[in-house]
């Protein structure tokens, strides 16, 4: 990232002005956001390869619909962090409340602290690394992507899960319907190694071998072997997006 960061003070300008500037910015620009004080929709809808640092805690839907680029929040985030993220990186140093990474289609979400209930709900290809714990019903109806939890997972993990993968280092309070423990194979260790490296310090020193893997027993949803090619293609697309991001 080149150049001096442009500073937006949310005590002085509206979130709408900030987001418009982020949407208008060409790739390579850097931004610093101060005094967010829990404001909603901070740094939403980014589509260029820009770098945004938010100094403080944010409200709902921070970095929603994020595509390319990088958003770092030095603080906590409320409901819907990085909701429907498409690609790029969203990283917060603190805790996230409900539904972090919900419906995310690609990219990487890193939560340094804990994530609340329903982390990764209906995720569709995003990779999520949580340094601490996740709340109940995380990865509910998760369809694709990886949820990596370096701490513990609360009740009903992976309820009604489709083809996403869940990795947990600590304790799992309980598994949701149709979510089962699965063996870790070399390709899973590779995935973990890649994601833990991308998360850096937020991964709390976790090693790929520390984790257990969970996924779908495929008894609940209408899985047919005839559609396995479509699944593989979707997984490849997600992996390709994520590899590109991790390398940038």
């Amino acid at each position: 990232m080149s150049g001096v960061a442009r500073v937006f003070d949310l005590a002085e300008v509206s979130g709408r002005e900030l987001n418009q500037a982020l949407h208008d910015a060409p790739s390579g620009e850097s931004f610093e956001v101060v005094n967010p004080r829990g404001a909603h929709a901070v740094a939403c809808g980014i589509t260029a390869d820009i770098n945004v640092v938010v100094r403080g805690s944010v409200g709902y839907y921070c970095a929603g619909m994020h595509e390319r680029g990088r958003v770092l929040v030095e603080g906590n985030a409320s409901t819907g962090l990085a909701e429907n993220v498409m690609s790029g990186v969203v990283h917060i140093t603190g805790n996230a409340t409900m539904s972090a990474g919900a419906t995310g289609c690609g990219g990487l979400l890193v939560v340094g602290g804990n994530a609340g209930a329903r982390c990764g709900i209906s995720m569709k290809g995003v990779d999520i690394v949580v340094g601490g714990n996740v709340g109940h019903m995380s990865a509910f109806m998760a369809q694709a992507g990886n949820l990596v939890v370096c701490g513990d997972a609360a009740a009903d993990l992976g309820d009604s899960i489709y083809e996403a993968q869940i990795f947990v280092r600590g304790n799992v309070e309980s598994l949701g319907a149709d979510c089962v423990r699965k063996e870790i194979r070399p390709e899973h260790l590779d995935t973990l190694g890649r994601l833990l490296a991308a998360a850096g310090e937020a991964a709390d020193g976790a090693k790929p071998g520390d984790f257990r893997r969970y996924g779908s027993a495929r008894r609940l949803y209408n899985f047919t072997i005839d559609n396995v090619d479509a699944l593989a293609a979707a997984a490849e697309t997600a992996a390709a997006t994520n590899t590109e991001v991790a390398g940038s």
């Binding site: 004080r37 829990g38 709902y60 409320s78 805790n95 409900m98 609340g116 209930a117 709340g135 109940h136």
Partner: protein, 299 residues
């Protein structure tokens, strides 16, 4: 959607500005509930005297006459202080008797609260204007709860606004909706609770009052609520010496808590807490589902 704020002063430091800080928090929650607002402030008051806050929206009431009638009923001195369409009675007599007498004898009036420490105000309209009209910012005390309402389960009326009280010095604000409130209301009415609205949250307040009158602590009453209330809720509950928080087991309705050496604050959203003195250094967390959190002046 509704907005909840609660502020509990653990030390003397901010008690003189409790109302001002609560108003700052309430302002941040305006857009979660622009229909109506209300607040309850707890202050030590005068030992042995109960205050009763009464709402007489759109009525011309001769409060002096009501006070005189109450003196005859109670056999005790009663003073009254009108505040716009509210009036605050003060007496050494029994507050619960005053509450029932006013409900039975002052047509159209509602008793919003009674207790040694609580005063409670509510109105339809912009939460900021409600706070201003009843001088929230000028009030001192130990703890306060406030609410901004976006009506779902019953109409936009002052009586449907929060907080709700049915017991002495106990009040409740609620974000969410209950599904079994009609059956529970009948159950509680059969056990001596009386309700003034069709609102689901008033039933939750009545439930807690019933449990506490039956000998439960606030924590015990909330344990019961977890099994007896069906629906979505984040509750903040004020009692004489503290306050408590409870979220339902699914925890769809938001809540955030922050604590410093001087205060504990809770709100639907962090932005209400962000403007409090010392918020940047506060310990901040999201209350877990189905877990009771309580703070007490005694502790």
């Amino acid at each position: 959607m509704c907005g909840i704020v609660g502020l509990f002063c653990k030390t003397e430091t901010h008690r003189h500005e409790l109302g001002r800080l609560t108003a700052v928090m309430l302002r941040e929650m305006r857009d979660r509930g622009p229909d109506s607002a209300g607040f309850a402030v707890y202050d030590p008051g005068i030992v042995g005297r109960t205050r009763i806050t009464v709402l007489a929206e759109g009525l011309e009431v001769d409060w002096g006459q009501v006070a005189a009638a109450l003196e005859r009923v109670l056999g005790a001195e009663v003073t009254v202080r009108p505040v716009h369409d509210h009036a605050v009675f003060s007496t050494g007599g029994d507050g619960r008797t005053v509450r029932q007498w006013i409900i039975d004898n002052v047509a159209g009036a509602s008793v919003l609260s009674y207790g040694d420490q609580i005063e409670l105000y509510k109105a339809v309209g912009d939460p900021d204007l409600v706070a201003e009209r009843y001088d929230l910012a000028g009030r001192a005390g130990t703890h306060a709860l406030a609410h901004t309402r976006m009506a779902t389960e019953s109409a936009v009326t002052t009586n449907g606004s929060h907080p709700f009280v049915t017991g002495a010095d106990t009040c409740l604000v609620h974000n969410g909706s209950l599904s079994n409130h009609n059956r529970l209301r009948r159950f509680l009415e059969a056990r001596g609770e009386s309700f003034q609205t069709e609102n689901d949250s008033e039933v939750a307040a009545g439930y807690l009052s019933w449990r506490m009158r039956s000998g439960d602590t606030i924590s015990g009453a909330l344990e019961g609520a977890l099994s007896d209330l069906d629906g979505f809720y984040t509750f903040a509950i004020g009692v004489a010496d503290g306050f408590a928080i409870l979220r339902d087991p699914i925890a769809c309705k938001p809540a955030v808590v922050a604590e410093t050496d001087d205060w504990v604050a809770m709100s639907s959203e962090y932005r209400a807490i962000a403007r409090l003195p010392g918020a940047n250094d506060a310990e901040i967390w999201e209350p877990e589902p189905a877990r009771i959190y309580a703070w007490s002046l005694a502790a």
